[in-house]
Symmetry: C2
C-alpha cells in the first residue's frame, strides 16, 4: 500500500497508467475536454476540483478493479450517476477520480415476482418504461425522472411527487450489490419481500451518497400499473390558507399527490405554457387520487370541498387523466420555468406538516430581507419544499445574498423541527448545516459507520457527512 | 473500566448492588422466582442462562444508566420486549442482565401528521387500538399482534399478514430514539416522511435484534383506517396447484392478504373451531382485498377465477367483513391449533415466490424422511412460510429428528434462493445457518457494523449475527 498524501506529477501519471492498464481500452478517460464535463453536477459547485480521470465501467468486476486500485493508492472516488444531483454529491475533487455509472445500463424485469434487477446507470424514466412493458410500475418519481439515474436515486434515497402515498426510493429497494472501498463486492437482500437475516444493510446503503460503497446493481420492488388519476386543482388568495388546506387533506386521507406552487411559480409556468393559470393567486395546489373506480372521484370531491372550506378562490377537478396530467405537468414544469428567470440555488428543506405554513411564510420573509427572488414549490403532502433561489452569478453581491438566504432557509427549517434535505441529499453544499440538524452525538455515530466501512476515507470524501 | 472476564460471586454481588443503587427502588429484580420467567422467550431455548438481574426501566434515562453500568462492567445486556420471540433473540445468558421494556408504555398519537410516538413496551395491538381511536391504522400485523411488543417488532423488523400489500415494520418507523452500548442516547429521524440528512441509521436499527442499541422510543407512520376487506377462500387437492395459484395472483394484482394453510393446519383448526373446513383438502388459501368500493369485489372475483383456473375444489367469497374475518381468524388460529398437537419448533423460511411450491413440497419430504409432523402455514403472497415442527421434548430421539428437520428446512430454503428468516429474526436458534445464507464477506460486513457500534460486544451477545 502506498502512503497517503499528495503525489508528484510523475507519480500521479504512473498511478493513472496503472488503472488504464488494468481496464479495457477507453474505459479510463483523461482527455480534459471530456473530463471537464464531469467536474460538476447540477449544483454547479464553483469549488469543484479537477479529476485525475473519469472511469466509465460496464460491469461490477471493473468497479472492483477501480476500487482496489483506489484503495491501494488512496485515491478519492466520486461516484456519479447522471450528474443531476442538486447538492454537489458528485462534485469532483482534485486528485480523485470520477466513477461514472452511465454505461451500466442492464435491466431484467421479472413480472412473476414483480421485481426488476438493474444496473445503476439506467435513468429512472427508463426503469419505469421497462417495467411498464410488463404492466408494472416503479413508483418513485423525482421531478427530474427523465434525466436522473436510478443509481443516483438510490444514493440520495430520492423521493418525488407520489411519495406522499407510495413512499420513497428505499421502500422499493429489496437488495443491492455493492462494491466496498477495498474492492470487495457483496450482495445484500434480494427478490424477497421479507428477509431479516443479518442487519438491514441494504437500507443503510440507500441514501449513503456514495460514501459507504458503490451500488452496482439493485433489485427493485414493483407494483401493478398505477390506476389512472383524478386530479383537483385550486388557487388560494393566501399561502397560509393553502397550507392549512394541505394539513386538513393529509389528516383525512391519503392522496396520491399533493403539490404546492407559490405565485412566482404559477406565473413562471404561465409565462411559458399559457394554460390560463390564475396569475393573481398567492398559491396553487394540485392533488390527485389514484384509487380505483368511484373511490377516486370521491377522494377528489372530498379534497375539493376541503379546499373550498379553506377559502379556495377557484377549484377545478377532473377525472379525465389527460386533462389531469396537464396540471401535473404544469407543476413538474415549475423548476425549468423559474430557472428561465436566472440560475437557481435549489433548496430541499422539509418540516413536519403542521409547520408548513410557517416555513413558506418565513421563506417569503427571507426573500424580502435578502432582496432575492425565491419561488417555493413543494411536495406539500409530505412537508418537503423546494425553495428556488434565483440569483445572478455575474453579480457578486446578489450571489452573496442568495447564499445567505440558502443558509437561512435551512436554519428556519431546523427551527421548525425540520430537515435540511428531504430528498436531494447533503452532498457538499449542505454539509455545513448537517451538524446543526443531527447534533454532535448523531454526527459521531454517522462517523463510526463511515470509518467502519471506509477506513481510509476514499469514498466521496467531503460529501454526505 | 473493569477488565473483561468472569467475576467472582462477591464481585458480582457488588456489581449488581451498584446498579440497584443507581436506579429507583424495585427496578432491579434479582428474586429468582421472578427472574426465572425472563430466562427464555417463546423459542424456549434449553441452553438459556440465568441472568444476574432483570431490570424494568420506565424511562430512557434509566436505560442509559443501565447501559453505562453494563459498559463499565462488561455485563451482557439482553433486551426483551414481551418475550414472544421465536428465534431466541431474548434468551438470557449467564452473567448478563435482561433489560425488559415492559414498563415503557407511553404513546401519543398525532392525527394531523398521522404519526405516533411510543415507547417500546406497548403491545402491537395496543398501538393499533390507540391509533384507531383517531381513525388511523398501524399496518404491521404479526400473528402474535395481541401479545407481542412494538419494541420487539422493531427489533426483528416484524411482518405479518398485510405485508404483501403494506410492507413490514421498517416501512412504518420514521424515527427512533436509541440508547447505544455506552449509554449515549441519540434521536434518529422523526415525524417527517422524507429526511435524507445523514446515513439511514433509523433503518439500520430496525431489525438489529438488540445487538446495536436499545430502542427506547419510536416515531411510527400511520395510515388512514383500513377499508373493510372482501375475502375469498379456496381449497385445493394439491399443494402445488395452490402455490401456482398464489404465483398467478401475485403477478396480476396486489391483494391485501394472501395466506396458505396445508392439510394439517386446516385439520388442526377444524378440530378446534368446527367451522366446516374441508378436511380432505391438501391446501387452503385465504385472500383479501381492501380496495374501496366496487374495486374490492372486482379483486376478489379475479382472485376467485384464478383459483378456479388452478383447479380449486371449492371457492367461497364474501364482501361481508364479519364473515371474511372468520376465515382470517381461522388462519390466525393455525399456530395455537397445531400447537395443541405438541410443542412446536416454529420455522420462518422464505423464498422468491416462484420457488414456493418447491419449498412446501420439499418440506413435506423432510417431514416424511424425519418422521415428524410438520404443518406449513404461509404468508404465501410474499413467499414467507412458517413450517410448524411438532415434537415431543420427552422423546429425545423425536426431538433430535425435529431439530434435524429444522436445519434441513433452512438448507432447503437457501438452495431455493431464499432466506432462513423472513420476519422472526435470527436470534440464537438460527445463527448456525446465517453464514450459509450471507456468505463470509457479508458476515464480515455485519461484524464491522457490530464492532463499530458495540465494540465491547455487550449487546445481546450470541444473537443476531
Amino acid at each position: 500500500m502506498s502512503t497517503a498524501g499528495p503525489a508528484g506529477a510523475a507519480d500521479t501519471a504512473d498511478v493513472v497508467a496503472e488503472l488504464v492498464a488494468a481496464l479495457p481500452d477507453g474505459m479510463v478517460v483523461t482527455d480534459p475536454t471530456i473530463t471537464e464535463g464531469y467536474r460538476q453536477d447540477r449544483a454547479l459547485d464553483s469549488a469543484a476540483g479537477t479529476p485525475l480521470a473519469v472511469v466509465r465501467p460496464h460491469r461490477t468486476d471493473e468497479v472492483q478493479t477501480v476500487l482496489r486500485w483506489a484503495s491501494a493508492h488512496r485515491v478519492p472516488v466520486i461516484t456519479r450517476g447522471a450528474g443531476t444531483g442538486l447538492s454537489g454529491g458528485a462534485t469532483a475533487v482534485d486528485g480523485g477520480i470520477v466513477l461514472s455509472t452511465e454505461k451500466m445500463r442492464a435491466i431484467t424485469v421479472d413480472p412473476v415476482t414483480q421485481t426488476a434487477v438493474c444496473q445503476p446507470g439506467l435513468l429512472n424514466a427508463e426503469v419505469k418504461k421497462a417495467v411498464a412493458e410488463h404492466g408494472l410500475w416503479y413508483p418513485p418519481d423525482p421531478s427530474s425522472f427523465e434525466i436522473c439515474s436510478i443509481g443516483g436515486n438510490i444514493a440520495t434515497n430520492a423521493g418525488g411527487l407520489c411519495c406522499v402515498k407510495y413512499g420513497v426510493t428505499t421502500d422499493y429497494v429489496l437488495g443491492v450489490e455493492v462494491v466496498l472501498a477495498d474492492g470487495t463486492a457483496v450482495r445484500l437482500g434480494g427478490p424477497r419481500l421479507k428477509d431479516v437475516a443479518g442487519f438491514s444493510l441494504t437500507r443503510l446503503f440507500v441514501g449513503s451518497e456514495g460514501a459507504l460503497g458503490v451500488v452496482t446493481e439493485a433489485t427493485l420492488r414493483l407494483l401493478p400499473a398505477q390506476p389512472p388519476s383524478c386530479v383537483v386543482v385550486a388557487t388560494f388568495a393566501s399561502v397560509r390558507q393553502a397550507c392549512e388546506a394541505v394539513l386538513e387533506v393529509a389528516g383525512r386521507m391519503r392522496p396520491a399527490m399533493l403539490e404546492f406552487m407559490d405565485a412566482a411559480a404559477v406565473n413562471a409556468v404561465e409565462d411559458k405554457l399559457r394554460m390560463g393559470l390564475d396569475r393573481d393567486a398567492a398559491a396553487m395546489l394540485v392533488a390527485a387520487s389514484d384509487e380505483r373506480g368511484a373511490a377516486g372521484s370521491e377522494d377528489i370531491a372530498l379534497i375539493g370541498s376541503v379546499f373550498t372550506e379553506h377559502g379556495a378562490k377557484e377549484v377545478f377537478s377532473t377525472d379525465d387523466p389527460t386533462e389531469g396530467e396537464e396540471f401535473i405537468a404544469a407543476r413538474r414544469y415549475a423548476i425549468p420555468a423559474v430557472e428561465a428567470k436566472g440560475p437557481l440555488l435549489l433548496e430541499d428543506v422539509g418540516v413536519p406538516l403542521p409547520a408548513l405554513a410557517d416555513l413558506v411564510v418565513g421563506i417569503e420573509q427571507i426573500a424580502a430581507e435578502q432582496q432575492v427572488l425565491i419561488s417555493v414549490i413543494a411536495h406539500a403532502g409530505d412537508g418537503n419544499t423546494h425553495p428556488l433561489i434565483v440569483h445572478d452569478p455575474a453579480d457578486a453581491e446578489n450571489t452573496r445574498r442568495a447564499q445567505v438566504a440558502y443558509g437561512q432557509i435551512m436554519e428556519l427549517a431546523l427551527s421548525l423541527g425540520g430537515t435540511i434535505t428531504g430528498e436531494h441529499g447533503v452532498g457538499r453544499l449542505k454539509r455545513p448545516w448537517l451538524g446543526d440538524q443531527l447534533g454532535e452525538e448523531v454526527m459521531a455515530l454517522n462517523r463510526r459507520i463511515k470509518d467502519a466501512l471506509d477506513p481510509a476515507g476514499i469514498l466521496n470524501p467531503g460529501a454526505a457527512i
